[in-house]
């Protein structure tokens, strides 16, 4: 348990290695965001048959760096109605969790520096993956307070909408993550990664459903398209950060991209085996890092593809999807996986192993439970919709 770096007490070398790791992770995140912004613009340009940035550096690769430098020279404004203290605090509450959440991601195997062994992973706390959920609950404050403290109409509407969206999808995301914990029996991200071997990913072990739920919920959690209602230009101008300018705006932008990278990295860790991959004898410590970044790259590109393809959801569709579809499905799947594992251990239902017959019985029982579960749910959805219709009619309106 825990990083072997701290197993033999703590001395100067250990502290220096820790600081080195922190700075490297920090630089990776900053550089990663710069490259990701460039890649997003370039890739989406290709998808839309445009050229995209092509002036700064080869293929415009320095464009986001140039933009980053530019924002420092932009005037920093606070609207007259703003609550200045909270207005200044809010970007910190967005940036700090964005940087920290990546800490739990394993990006490679064990290496040794100066006689000390350490994981290629910033931290492996006992709470493991729950740290991600804690950080995403802190990130809600960055969004909410930005909108509230601006003292302006659109940011306020945007932030209330955004925080309701973020908390709604947090439950579905937590359930999907819990399913991955179910496979391993440990909260530690390192243990979850080690548990999956080269191709035997959690993605297959758990059925594809929890992965799908995680991807949808995580996309909504970081407000990426098609769940970017938070900054729906037609309705809300720029959403909760409308009133932010200059470096403060840049920090929100940075946090948003960093969160996308982090949730992609978590998806890689939880469902796609993290840094595991074919073993290659040449430079064995290097390849896991390569596998990890290849998988990560596939995910972040997938988000760009989503943005180019899918139209934005309407708010009621968003809420319906989160509450009425994803949460019940995630709950059912969690219990299904648990029942299959426990049933497998105990050779249900006859106590002796009859091979496939056992599995078929358990699956049939689970399917029966599923019919009751989703049947009840469907009936509830119909009753609820009818009730709302009636209410609306009484209030003198018509449901569109």
């Amino acid at each position: 348990m825990g990083d072997p770096l701290y197993a033999h007490g703590i001395d100067l070398a250990v502290v220096l290695i820790t600081i080195l790791k922190v700075i490297l992770t920090f630089l990776f995140l900053l550089l990663g965001v710069l490259l990701y912004i460039w890649w997003e613009r370039k890739f989406i340009s290709d998808l839309q048959n445009r050229i995209g940035p092509d002036r700064a550096g080869p293929h415009g690769i320095l464009q986001s760096l140039a933009d980053g430098i530019k924002v420092f020279f932009k005037e920093d404004l606070a609207p007259t109605e703003a609550d200045r203290r909270v207005y200044r605090l809010a970007p910190y509450l967005a940036a700090v969790p964005a940087f920290s959440a990546f800490a739990i991601i394993p990006i490679g195997d064990k290496i040794s520096i100066a006689g000390h062994q350490t994981y290629l992973q910033l931290a492996d706390p006992p709470i493991g993956i729950l740290f991600l959920l804690a950080m995403s609950s802190i990130a809600v404050y960055g969004v909410f307070l930005a909108g509230w403290s601006s003292g302006s109409k659109y940011p306020l509407l945007g932030s209330v909408r955004a925080s309701a969206q973020m908390i709604s999808y947090e439950a579905a995301m937590s359930l999907a993550v819990a399913t991955a914990v179910l496979a391993t029996g440990s909260l530690s991200t390192r243990a979850i990664f080690v548990h999956q071997s080269v191709w035997n990913w959690n993605l297959w072990q758990l059925g594809v459903v929890p992965f799908g739920i995680y991807m949808v919920a995580a996309t909504a959690e970081v407000n990426r398209p098609p769940f970017d209602l938070v900054e729906a230009e037609q309705e809300l101008v720029g959403g909760y950060m409308t009133e932010y300018a200059g470096v403060r705006f840049a920090l929100y932008y940075l946090a948003e991209f960093m969160n996308t990278i982090t949730v992609s990295a978590v998806a890689v860790t939880l469902f796609l085996g993290g840094p595991s991959g074919p073993h290659i004898n040449f430079l064995p410590a290097l390849w896991p890092v390569v596998w990890f970044f290849l998988k990560l790259f596939a995910f972040v590109s997938f988000y760009v593809w989503l943005r180019a393809t899918l139209p934005r959801l309407r708010y009621d569709q968003l809420m319906d999807l989160g509450w009425k579809r994803l949460i019940p499905l995630a709950l059912y799947w969690l219990l299904l996986i648990a029942a299959l594992r426990v049933g497998d251990d105990a050779h249900w239902p006859w106590g002796v192993n009859h091979g496939a017959l056992n599995a078929i019985t358990v699956v049939a029982a689970a399917a029966g439970a599923g019919v009751v579960f989703f049947g009840g749910l469907g009936a509830a959805i119909r009753v609820g919709a009818k009730r709302v219709e009636e209410e609306t009619a009484r209030a003198g309106g018509v449901r569109a």
């Binding site: 348990m1 909270v86 605090l89 706390p125 709470i127 925080s163 009730r387 209410e391 209030a395 003198g396």
Partner: protein
């Protein structure tokens, strides 16, 4: 090392608590409450109760204070309060009385030398952490075997909470309403 962490988190807890009672703006008070809850989470970590620490952040800071903020928005009280008006008569003297009683309940065991009543040494479930077994496994073993009844009772409690929330926030279907009454108020 331990006491350094304790002192820093205790300062955060107390500063947050002071902020809650002295802020005139309810949103500032709610933010101070977040600081307090975060400090308590750090204290849990220091006590090696890792799981409780993260629950503290996820549930209290991440859900309950967000609800407070929503309620503040809902009621439109994100303005500085007028402290001259006392909405509940006798509320302030009662608050002082309850506060003094609470402090006495904390200090009396110390005065009588019963430290372990406060420090958790008297816990029936044993220490939060021992050997190599992670804290969450110990907690889970206690919760899902010995304390199963409270756990199941919690689920019933949560059902009641759901019903309570709906009853409070939703109008009964068959009350007469005229037009858009809610919107017509100035």
């Amino acid at each position: 090392m331990d006491w350094v962490v304790f002192v820093i988190s205790a300062i955060a807890v107390l500063a947050g608590a002071l902020g809650v009672v002295t802020s005139r703006n309810p949103v500032h008070a709610a933010l101070s409450l977040v600081l307090t809850l975060f400090g308590i989470a750090v204290m849990f970590v220091e006590q090696q109760a890792n799981f409780l620490a993260v629950v503290q952040v996820i549930v209290y800071a991440g859900a309950i204070v967000v609800l407070f903020l929503f309620v503040i928005m809902l009621l439109g009280v994100d303005q500085a309060e007028d402290l001259e008006v006392e909405p509940l008569v006798g509320q302030r003297p009662a608050a002082v009385g309850v506060g003094v009683a609470g402090l006495a309940a904390l200090l009396l065991p110390i005065a009588f030398g019963k430290w372990q009543w406060l420090s958790g040494q008297a816990s029936v479930a044993g220490p939060a952490h021992s050997g190599t077994e992670p804290n969450v496994n110990r907690l889970a073993n206690a919760l899902f075997t010995r304390y199963l009844l409270p756990f199941e009772a919690t689920s019933v409690l949560l059902v009641i909470a759901v019903i309570g929330a709906v009853v409070l926030a939703r109008r009964p279907l068959h009350t007469e309403r005229q037009g858009l009454t809610a919107r017509e108020e100035p």
